[in-house]
């Protein structure tokens, strides 16, 4: 069994309540930080831990914190990005629903480290029942002296509020989130300036994902070094993975970074293998935005090494033969899956979610969806496949925010790895061609046998 840091007490019935959370060691990090550490010392621990942003980008959190501008007399803000909307990702929802106080505790400790006296948790509107849970948890934290004025008699003041979204994937982009929090359309800002200098209401702001903020709790409790001892290389600690699709046991799993992809898919501790013991065809490893990989490439890198659940190993091979850990939205597809159809659901998603500010994304996402629709309807041509490739190429890297890239990568990778499937649609008007990409690996043994080939 891998170690669990965030979901350690997940099995305790009623851990969402303040009493049980506190009884099981909750809010220790606040006591430790406020009473025995300077804010800079907390930042230092986070740096030592090697913690990387868990929302998708994987930027080192300690470094992000150290960029925060600290002009005199200007308030600073910590904003929690709980706008979880990356298809395939539902770990933040799980965490907030099951152990809301872990997020509140992380917010308090982090706010102290950053010198922020107000914190906001921006929750996507669709999670309204979560908002209620968080609001209750915040009330409890106020009532027990963890929020408000002069916390623990240290003179540190902190207010915390939940902010609701209203249905917009783009608000997961940090500057769009800030715009939305200011009561505006969720249009990403043009950077620079970055939020660390000019964020919420033009004040220095740090925006961190739910899981990132929660991870600060064990880091402060046990020290950055202990956290960094878990994992491999620059992928330290644990990560929540949202597993979905054609697997026996979908759900949220906390893994030690560094376990193999194979183990994650096939072991009973995690996904439990492919649903109905079918063959594995492809995996989207880090949420809809990251490149899709066929079975052989997700289990082993192009060099034949075992693919691991780390930022580096998943990215091994670049975009030609690798992918990204992203938000940890792990979508598994069995042999019956039509890659083109799945891609259409992604393309439709990005088309629906484009904010419309910059032209490549606004126009390109819709164009790609229409072409995919045409191909699925049996009216596509080979030229359409090339056109799709060209459109994604012209969107990638040319937009204001990463949504353009996120829309382009799934298209690029699907064509790169499954071109014959597109061609089959175009030529034979049939959905599932005989694909040579995947291998028969129903269980660990079979996968191991394959790995030794």
């Amino acid at each position: 069994m891998g170690r669990k840091l965030l979901l350690e007490n997940d099995h305790i019935e009623g851990i969402h309540s303040y009493e049980l959370y506190r009884k099981n060691g909750g809010y220790r990090s606040v006591e430790k930080a406020l009473k025995t550490m300077t804010p800079d010392a907390v930042v230092e621990e986070v740096k030592k831990s090697g913690l990387r942003g868990r929302g998708g980008a994987g930027f080192p959190t300690g470094m992000k914190w150290s960029f925060l501008a600290k002009p005199e007399g200007v308030p600073r803000y910590l904003v929690c990005n709980a706008d979880e909307s990356e298809p395939g990702t539902f770990k933040d929802r799980y965490l907030m629903e099951r152990i809301p106080h872990l997020l509140i505790e992380g917010m308090i400790t982090s706010s102290y480290a950053l010198g922020a006296n107000t914190g906001y948790i921006y929750v996507r509107g669709e999670y309204f029942y979560i908002i209620k849970i968080l609001e209750k948890a915040i009330s409890e934290a106020y009532a027990n002296g963890w929020l408000g004025k002069n916390i623990l008699g240290t003179g540190y003041n902190l207010d915390m509020h939940v902010q609701c979204g209203a249905g917009a994937y783009i608000c997961g982009e940090e500057t769009a989130l800030l715009e939305s929090l200011e009561g505006k359309r969720g249009n990403p800002r043009i950077k620079p300036p970055f939020p660390a200098v000019k964020g919420l209401w033009e004040c220095p702001t740090v925006v961190n994902n739910v899981e990132t903020i929660a991870a600060v709790v064990p880091i402060v409790n046990d020290g950055g070094e202990a956290y960094a001892a878990i994992g491999i290389g620059k992928s330290t600690g644990t990560k929540l993975i949202s597993a979905s699709g054609h697997i026996k046991k979908p759900g949220v799993y906390e893994i030690e970074l560094g376990i193999s992809v194979e183990e994650f898919i096939y072991s009973d501790e995690y996904c439990g293998g492919i649903l109905n013991d079918k063959k594995l065809k492809a995996v989207v490893a880090g949420g809809s935005s990251v490149p899709i990989l066929p079975a052989d490439l997700i289990l082993k890198t192009a060099n034949g090494e075992k693919r691991l659940m780390t930022y580096e190993s998943l990215a091994d091979g670049g975009f030609a033969a690798g992918t990204m850990l992203g938000s940890g939205g792990f979508i598994v597809m069995d042999e019956s899956t039509s890659i083109v159809k799945n891609l259409h659901t992604f393309a439709r998603f990005y088309h629906h979610e484009s904010c419309g500010q910059c032209s490549p994304c606004r126009e390109g996402t819709g164009w790609m969806e229409k072409i995919l629709h045409k191909i699925l309807d049996g009216h596509g041509t080979l030229a359409d496949v090339d056109l799709l490739w060209d459109i994604q190429r012209k969107i990638e890297g040319n937009t204001i925010c990463p949504l353009g890239d996120a829309a382009a990568w799934p298209v690029a990778s699907a064509i790169r790895h499954f071109r014959s499937e597109f061609e089959a649609y175009v030529n034979n008007r049939q959905s599932i061609p005989d694909v040579k990409y995947y291998f028969h690996c129903n269980n660990l043994d079979a996968a191991a046998a394959y790995s030794s080939l």
Partner: protein
């Protein structure tokens, strides 16, 4: 400008909207717009008419266009009337992999409406939506704030049945969703 004079909010809602503005620094009350629109929608049959939006603008001391811009940007605000039961079925990858299309087809057949339409009796509206973060419990649909997960067609039938005689619109929030300061 539309006639927002005939639009009224309950005193509780108005008080709540005012209370929400306390969460932000002086002069940054615009931040309360998103929650205020949710409150307005919940109180006015699940959708935002122009007069309702104008009323929100008035309550928050904003220009009406600022409200329209925001209301039309976010997918949870309905700018047209909806049925009592607004069924939102997720259709993105993970849900699609686990049979979301069948769920949609089933509802369409049962209610005799297409995606985006409302039944003639004004009871149900069907809307397909993008990923709701319920991928591990797919397929799923949302009605108001409730996630109905691990759907089977039987389950869908039962859910629809529950809403048969509904007198109120489904809403995303309860009166006690927001903490008062």
């Amino acid at each position: 400008m539309s006639d927002s004079k005939n639009i009224s909010f309950t005193p509780e809602s108005e008080a709540l909207i005012k209370n929400l503005t306390k969460r932000y620094p002086e002069g940054k009350h615009k931040s309360a717009l998103l929650p205020a629109l949710h409150i307005a929608q919940a109180e006015h049959d699940g959708w935002l008419s122009v007069p309702v939006m104008d009323k929100v603008a008035e309550l928050l001391n904003l220009q009406p266009i600022e409200v329209y811009e925001v209301a039309s940007f976010y997918s949870m605000y309905n700018l047209k009337p909806v049925g009592k039961c607004l069924i939102e079925v997720c259709r993105t990858s993970s849900c699609w992999l686990r049979g979301a299309e069948d769920v949609v087809k089933h509802i369409e057949k049962r209610l005799g409406i297409k995606d985006g339409e409302t039944t003639a009796d004004g009871k149900y509206t069907l809307k397909t939506v993008e990923c709701l973060g319920s991928c591990g419990t797919a397929p799923m649909l949302q009605i108001g704030q409730t996630f109905h997960e691990n759907l089977t067609l039987d389950k869908v039938d039962k859910i629809l049945e529950e809403w048969k005689d509904a007198t109120n619109h489904s809403t995303y929030l309860n009166t006690d969703t927001f903490r008062k300061i």
